[in-house]
Symmetry: C2
Subunit: 586 residues, 2 copies
């Protein structure tokens, strides 16, 4: 079934006489019949779902008009005006637009303040009886995250999340459609989509990218083409008939909810309705099945872990354990050394960065929040929040404008109880560590049992395939001759029985032995073939870098050895290029 949204409200209000500079939402109270009439004209054109006139009805926007005390009133009036237009099958979507402010650290609005503003508006819409919440035209993923969290807290209705992208297919603050989709699906968005800023021709490839990323239903509301300025007037040039033709393509690309944004009229909606409302869905391409690979994102980049994807390197260096200077810097609130480690690990090839603020005696939550905020501006690789402190975990997850990995969730009841709901709420993936209250299981088989228990609890908490990274657990070879064998056997059992992506902290294996680099690199090669997807390692180690480059070649991720040959070509210039970057040579 294809659902037809409505079109623009703003231009319709101007045509109905809304004075320039006047608060559009105030008419919900003052001119409800006008609002109802506009809704009616869309319903008559074929809209299944109409959007309330509440795009700017949040406390921050209303403050511009001195109407900050009317949030509940204007949202409630909007829903009433909409309901007055509805036929028996018409649904009402409560429109929620941006605050117009950027969240810390890009702007000065705190995440909690943004959340509260959205919570207030969405509560009013929910209580007034909307059928769904439509968060739309959002250009910053962090704002969308705050709004989505608020929507999930304020309402049990379905939530539609629509971002707006530029012609470069990124939002103003740098997020691409795939990354946004991964973040929003993980946080529980019910419908994911895109609206405004572009016409249907430009939105088509974005819809395709969303469709290849998620099995959520997809919504799209394009402008009536790309606007031109004619006589100082913004003009949207696309005619209704053409809009209908594009609607067919958008549906073929995966959209199931189709409407219009700026410049669209009831005529455009009628054309869309006629073009797609009665399309037979069986003729359309089917959605993909669920994958077991796990996607992590920063604000602007997605990294996939798992079979079929290249090896992902998790840099282990942002960790004060055993490093006195780094610990002292963090305790002093001095994050220069943390930032240096981040930059140099990324330059040395890390695809993800582990962030551990475990300095005894400090406010870990504060340190974690600050580290995550700063690092998310500095580097574009996704972050791994490495903590045993539940407050530090939530501070980090809240601050992170992406989909983080939580390091780690063991089968200890306290950990399961506190960490799993946070993973679900913030849409994070979890690194599952096979440690139970009974201790560290020695054999691969016992580790599989503990991991299955963690996954079972995670499913009960609402996590899904795609949310897991499994740690095979490395003990030290010097203390246990079977440490290597059992870790390798564990990787193979995970691959065979579960199929989720895997990780290990490689350097544990060599603890207490000389030339740890040789052992770590050799073990890495074995583990990569045994099914290791994302080793946690020191990316400055030249032997490890050599092993990783050769492994990519050997495991089919570097056809004809092209990358390898460039890195290790026998010229002095290339030899220099092959040397990994360390803090010394930044």
């Amino acid at each position: 079934m294809i659902y037809i949204f409505d079109g623009a409200m703003g231009t319709m209000l101007q045509n109905a006489g809304l004075p320039p500079g006047y608060c559009p939402e105030l008419w919900n109270q003052e001119q409800p019949a006008v609002i109802t009439a506009i809704h009616k004209s869309y319903i008559d054109s074929g809209s299944d779902i109409i959007e309330t006139n509440t795009f700017g009805a949040n406390r921050i926007k209303l403050t511009h008009y001195g109407l900050e005390e009317k949030v509940a009133l204007l949202n409630t009036a909007a829903v009433q005006a909409a309901r007055a237009a509805c036929g028996p099958d018409t649904k009402i979507a409560g429109s929620v637009g941006p605050t117009g402010k950027l969240i810390v650290p890009l702007g000065d609005l705190s995440f909690d303040d943004a959340y509260n503003v959205f919570f207030e508006q969405i509560s009013a819409l929910d209580q007034a009886g909307v059928d769904m919440i439509l968060i739309e035209t959002i250009i910053d993923i962090q704002e969308m995250r705050a709004a989505l969290l608020a929507a999930k807290a304020a309402s049990k209705k379905p939530v539609i999340c629509q971002m707006s992208f530029g012609a470069d297919e990124r939002t103003v603050t740098g997020t691409d459609p795939i990354t946004a989709t991964i973040i929003l699906e993980a946080m529980g968005a019910d419908i994911i989509g895109v609206n405004c800023s572009l016409g249907p021709a430009q939105l088509l490839p974005i819809v395709e990218k969303i469709a290849q990323t998620t099995n959520c239903p997809i919504s799209v509301q394009a402008n009536a083409g790309m606007p031109s300025l004619i006589n100082k007037q913004t003009v949207f040039p696309m005619q209704p008939e053409e809009m209908g033709l594009w609607a067919k393509k958008l549906v073929a690309a995966g959209a199931r909810y189709v409407g219009g944004c700026c410049g669209t009229t009831p005529q455009h909606i009628k054309s869309i309705y006629q073009a797609v409302k009665h399309l037979a869905l069986s003729d359309l391409p089917t959605v993909q099945s669920a994958k077991k690979s796990t996607a992590l994102t920063s604000r602007s980049k997605t990294i996939y872990l798992g079979a079929g994807h290249p090896t992902v390197i998790i840099g282990e260096r942002i960790n004060p354990t055993g490093r006195k200077q780094l610990a002292a810097d963090i305790a002093a609130g001095q994050f220069i050394s943390v930032k240096k480690e981040a930059l140099s690990q990324v330059r040395a090839g890390a695809h993800l960065l582990d962030v551990n603020m475990g300095v005894p005696g400090i406010d870990q939550a504060k340190a974690m929040q600050y580290a995550i905020q700063e690092l998310s501006m500095l580097v574009d690789v996704p972050l791994v929040i490495d903590t045993t402190d539940v407050n530090a975990l939530e501070a980090g997850l809240k601050a992170y404008p992406g989909r983080a990995l939580i390091n780690s969730v063991s089968a200890e009841p306290e950990r399961l109880k506190s960490f799993l709901p946070l993973a679900k709420k913030y849409g994070a993936a979890i690194l599952c560590l096979p440690i139970s209250p009974a201790g560290v299981p020695k054999t691969a088989q016992d580790r599989l049992v503990v991991i299955q228990e963690i996954i079972h609890k995670a499913f009960e908490t609402g996590l899904k395939p795609g949310d897991f990274v499994l740690d095979a657990l490395i003990l030290t070879a010097a203390a246990d001759a079977r440490a290597g064998l059992e870790a390798l056997a564990t990787l193979k059992l995970y691959r065979q029985h579960l199929g989720y992506p895997t990780t290990m902290g490689l350097s544990n294996i060599s603890f207490g032995l000389p030339r740890r680099d040789i052992i770590n690199a050799t073990f890495c090669a074995m583990a990569l073939d045994a099914g290791l997807d994302a080793p946690i390692l020191n990316p400055y180690d030249p032997l490890m870098q050599q092993t990783l480059a050769a492994s990519a070649l050997l495991l089919g991720d570097d056809p004809s050895g092209r990358s390898y040959s460039v890195n290790y070509a026998p010229t002095s210039q290339s030899e220099e290029r092959a040397a990994p970057l360390t803090p010394k040579n930044i």
Copy 2:
């Protein structure tokens, strides 16, 4: 069932009046009744099997008495004299003793001459109607090999091979019981045993070693204790009763054929008969089942390949392909560089040496024979005969006083037809290469099919589990992105479906790429975990040596990393020790 052999013949003949320095075998013709009477006294004491008076009845020994033309006559007369003593169930073993000369290169008797001498005597014994051939008191494995080959060619009767060991559990020319047993079983000995030189107390641990090595029936004929010189007379001190007590222990250790050698009399045999003839075998320890590991030996050392055994390094350096100087040396009959490569590879840690004489235009058979002869004196690691020339193969196998590995047997019909019978005849193991007339199979599954065909043909030729080493076949990664993956998958399939030990020539993978050492070492680590038992590699490569040391640690072959820690301990002295030896620093 326990079978009772007889005891000494020589002392019995002296007691019967044989003059000192007189040829004992001449009495077969001159005094057959005395011979028959001695046999009769043993049969009356319980012997199931009597040994003909032909211990020295070979052409070389008889030449000392000017009796070289009486080989057939004296052997035939001996069998007749024995038969005259036999009851209906008594069996006759045709005794074959040593020539008294050493074979080239330890002595000046050629292998072929030794073979012919044994063939002549054994043919006579066979035609005269013995029930089995007993090759006994042999102190040189190469002489035993010649005698066994001759026995198999001259007779279809069962062949018993009995070596004689010193108090150090080695033969005069250095072979230990395990090594001898492996060589002889592979060459088709029907019963394997030990006689003379030592008393039962000293032979007991040797019988135990033979029993743990083979499922062949085991024979033992001890002297009557360790001799003392009393009044210039050799006296064997052990009394019959004690001999019987020891016989029980020898049977418990695995012997099923028990008799006596020097100093034993019919009284000793009677005591042995009473002690063991009616032992219930169900009370004795059972023999082990067939193993899938493969044992290779030099003259003096055994190396096991396969699961449960440490990684075996096959040194690849004795190969003139692409090495102009080495090729020129071999062509010139100048083997100094070959010997240097052998010594330095062994010092660098090679457990087996591949020997390839593939220089175009030379007499490869001659070169191979010479190389094998020289190397078998120089180093104690088993050799791998690497050739496509069937004449070179046979020359090498004949010259080698051990159990060699043949590199290689493909599924090409000509290769199967010519190489498999030579492997069977000389008791060599075969390196199976999955190449068929249709070419090189690309996938692991196809390689498994071809390997199964080779093994099937090998079984038809009489080879057994324990005779195989499977090559997983490495293509070059630069030409084929799946080269590494398929080789690893092949190793895993071999392990899963066949279980025989595996090998690969590692360096193929990196052909045409820079820094081949990194790729080779990384691939080695992966392959060892995937089931590679015996990599073929360059043992001088320091990166490879590091990887091998770390792999042993990681795969449980170096508990607590003791060897690793010694090799890589952070002191300058140890660092030097860790450096592999290359030809430069010999």
